[in-house]
């Protein structure tokens, strides 16, 4: 087995026993990145020298003993997290040269745990998109088929994970941006409860929806990483003031007696491909075999979720992105004759078309005379969606659904049809609107050999149930063990 194929659980065992050093591990991954990333294009910035320095430091820690499970483990971080001294672009021209003066809380926590920052991963510009084609720099390719998208917006993170270019990748999820690319790339990802992980230092897209989480080889690794990055942060007022549990504790408890909710409306959603439906049905059957009970639940307003999301998220984004005005940092259009012209040219040239589109939508939705009809109405419907989930969770412990209606689509296939792209978020958006934890993991492969994912959602702060169920599933299946042909074909590391 290659070092880059290790799970964190495996790697940290080897590291702790000093069978490998962190430096070896980092070198192996850097070599793999050098060999493979020109094809996948998952990284915007690779921090080779810094990573080797950090690895040497981690090796000293490991030699002393008592280091945590992430010590010496190389991770990739979506380029939306501020990293002190390492440029943080959000894959946008407007921040192409921006070097933060501080670390995001997630980054600080990872460093504190001894994890090695290997690099910053590509994304849809400002996390707006579902294919990573909206990157202001270059599109990332799906490691399973380089002509296809990896999903998005954390497409760089998911592709890097799938291609063996890191041992864990951190992403953010505003409407599915961890789960959908994880699904398209055949890896496991979790969007925790809103407020579970600090948003401090994450460049904001839609503040009431954004949440950070890990993308890993399997659920166990996700539990390990989430344990390290979650917890209350006094720098984020929306952070939940509760201690971060050790999610790795009850992973082996199985699903016997678990009540698995099957939302009927979700499975009737138009556009759900038969292949995905079949794979998810297979997952449900397996859960039943493992001892879970299934119950039919209703999420009657699922059909409104996409509309609500595409008002609230752009509205918040239109305000969050106002700070990129050319005054203080980032790109400023040269030679403007007036302040107004400087604003106009800077923002017109600095932002890509999808970001501009969403700023326009959001600005419109908040405008005088439209606020009540759009933003306020959307907020009210959001409250109803929350109530739908509360009702559903009275009769079940977890809700199962597809992640995306189809496997990964081809690059360029949907770029001219933003609405089709938006509608594909139907399964992932509700968890963001309700602030609930949701996990995506592979549950099968299409006839074309593309991974397909299943999603589990749980009650507020009940990530444990997701991990327990996912671990039981992965113990009984091998979907998560498959590697893209890319990994098999190329001789590297």
């Amino acid at each position: 087995m290659h070092l880059y194929d290790l799970t964190i659980a495996q790697a940290s065992g080897l590291l702790a026993r000093r069978e490998i050093s962190s430096e070896e591990l980092v070198r192996a991954l850097l070599a793999r990145v050098e060999a493979v990333d020109p094809l996948v294009q998952s990284y915007v910035t690779v921090c080779g020298d810094e990573a080797l320095d950090a690895a040497k430091h981690a090796d000293q820690q490991l030699a002393k003993g008592g280091a945590g499970p992430l010590c010496g483990v190389p991770v990739a971080i979506k380029d939306v997290f501020c990293t002190q001294g390492v440029r943080t672009t959000c894959s946008s021209k407007i921040l192409e040269t921006h070097v933060p003066v501080y670390d995001a809380t997630v980054v600080a926590k990872l460093k504190e745990a001894g994890a090695i920052l290997l690099g910053k991963t590509n994304m849809d510009e400002f996390a707006m998109g579902a294919s990573t084609e909206n990157s202001g720099f270059f599109p990332t390719k799906n490691p399973w088929d380089l002509t296809r998208v990896p999903g998005g917006s954390s497409g760089g993170s998911a592709a890097a994970m799938a291609a063996g270019l890191c041992l864990s990748a951190i992403g953010t999820d505003t409407g599915g941006s961890i789960r959908q690319p994880a699904s398209h790339c055949g890896v496991t990802g979790i969007k925790p409860t809103y407020g579970r992980v600090s948003r401090y230092g994450i460049v904001a897209f839609a503040s009431s929806l954004d949440q950070a989480g890990p993308i890993c080889r399997d659920a166990e690794d996700c539990a390990l990483v989430l344990s390290a990055i979650s917890g209350h942060d006094p720098l984020d007022s929306t952070s939940i003031p509760a201690p971060a549990p050790d999610y790795t504790k009850n992973l082996g408890q199985g699903v016997k007696g678990l009540r698995l909710g099957i939302p009927k409306e979700v499975f009737d959603a138009p556009g759900l491909s038969p292949e995905v439906r079949k794979a998810v049905d297979g997952a449900i059957a397996l859960f039943q075999d493992l001892g879970a009970h299934t119950v039919e639940v209703s999420l009657p307003r699922t059909d409104l979720a996409v509309a609500v999301y595409y008002i609230i998220a752009p509205a918040e984004a239109s305000s969050n992105l106002a700070r990129y005005d050319g005054v203080k940092y980032g790109f400023r259009a040269p030679n403007s004759e007036s302040l107004k012209e400087m604003y106009h040219t800077t923002r017109s040239r600095g932002f890509g078309p999808e970001v501009r589109r969403r700023i326009l939508i959001g600005t419109y939705a908040l405008s005088a005379g439209y606020y009540d009809a759009y933003y306020k109405k959307a907020s009210q419907v959001r409250t109803l969606l929350v109530q739908d989930f509360q009702t559903a969770f009275q009769s079940c412990d977890a809700i199962i659904s597809p992640v995306a209606p189809t496997p990964a689509f081809r690059i360029g296939e949907r770029v001219h049809d933003p609405l089709a792209m938006y509608l594909a978020d139907i399964f992932t958006i509700p968890a963001n609107l309700a602030g609930l934890p949701a996990l995506a993991m592979p549950c099968g492969f299409s006839a074309e050999g593309l991974p397909m994912g299943v999603q589990l959602m749980a009650r507020h702060l009940d990530e444990e149930t997701l991990f327990r169920a996912a671990c039981a599933f992965q113990k009984a299946t091998e979907h998560h063990l498959r590697r893209p042909p890319l990994a098999n074909e190329r001789k590297t590391a």
Binding site: A204, S319, A322, V327, Y371
Partner: protein
Amino acid sequence: MRYEAVIGLEVHAQLKTASKIFCGCSASFGAPPNTHTCPVCLGMPGSLPVLNEKAVLYAVRMALATNCRVNLESRFARKNYFYPDLPKGYQISQYEAPVAEHGWLDIEANGAAKRVGITRIHMEEDAGKLVHDPHRPVSRVDLNRAGTPLIEIVSEPDMRAPEEAGAYLRGIHAILRYLDICDGNMEEGGFRCDANVSVRPLGQKEFGVRAEVKNMNSFKNVERAIAHEIRRQVELIEDGGTVIQETRLWDADLGKTFSMRGKEEARDYRYFPDPDLLPLVLDPAWVEEIRAGLPELPQAKRARYVAELGLSQEDAGVLTADHALARYFEEALSVYNKPRPVCNQITGALLALLNAKNLSVDASPVPPERLAALVGLVEDGTVSGNTAKTVLEKMAATGRPPREIVEAEGLVQVSDEALIEQAVDEVLAAGPDEVAAYKGGKTKLMGFFVGETMRKTKGKANPKVVNGLLKKKLEA
């Protein structure tokens, strides 16, 4: 036709917290540009606001002191607009759910008492400031002030005359100072006021179209600007014109308001609840604790000075208008407990001295206990009231205590009748014609005799004794 003005005021008061409203940076004034900044108040990508509890405490104190209803749940909202001094492209303020509403302040103006309604008080962050290079087409941005905490106090359109606006503003200012939550400095911008002014034919119910007047940096200028704006609007209407809704800037040198046309397009601030901040929920017990801890406020203090200390309404008003002056008075009183003479010494000689030197009470060169000692010397007859003025000036100039000055300079008042009688006799002997005239009915000449006697004693004779002796001798 006769017109009536309708005036409402918006006051922005900078709260005296040590740190800014949403980050830990110092909120103090006067540091080198951009040194009191951090990722949060610079609007760096990824930074988030955390509310300063002290700012909430101060806002609630003001709310309670102005009889407002404190909203136990309020919300912060984003006010979106682009300007280089606004680092995030929005200002965090309160909009639909402010921290307090429905208060009032009693004022007195033009000889009448009046209650002015307070619509709302809300919290917000200040913007930075632009420094324009006078020599080159360059503007610099200083974000030290960005994120300093403000409260905005919005009045009802209840005022009808510039003097009422002045009285309201002084009242609000005094309360802020009493609560010790704002330094109240209008010139540095710690206390700012915008006035909404409209006029309507007397008797008409509907409001006229209002203009918002800005840029007034003293109480006097607020009154002048409003008076000018009322005149301008009345003249405009009488000439057949119509008032348009706009923002106008007061130019104190020219004594006129000017339209801000061009800069002020119709703005849509696209307010919406700030998703980075949870609703602000206040514990009712905490609010009551704040209420119980409020200090004595200007109006209560004034009433007490009249009722318990026997001061006149006017004197009590002067002493209580300024928190520092009231404190000075009370400190002096704690040393020498005779309210009226202490009051007179403060409102008379001390204020004249401070005004002449353009000093605030806090910077008085004569501390209250020394002033009290001086009043004591007057009251026990050691120095005359007239001499006291001289002594006070010397105290201010030298920093020496009053008794030392009086003794060193031989200013002790002479009350010894024998000594004074000698001088009186000499004065009377030197002016037989005046004496005759006095006795013939020209009693106004008494002043002449007193003056002559004082001159002879170099001002040290006790005027009471002089008067008594003169009367006795002239009317014998």
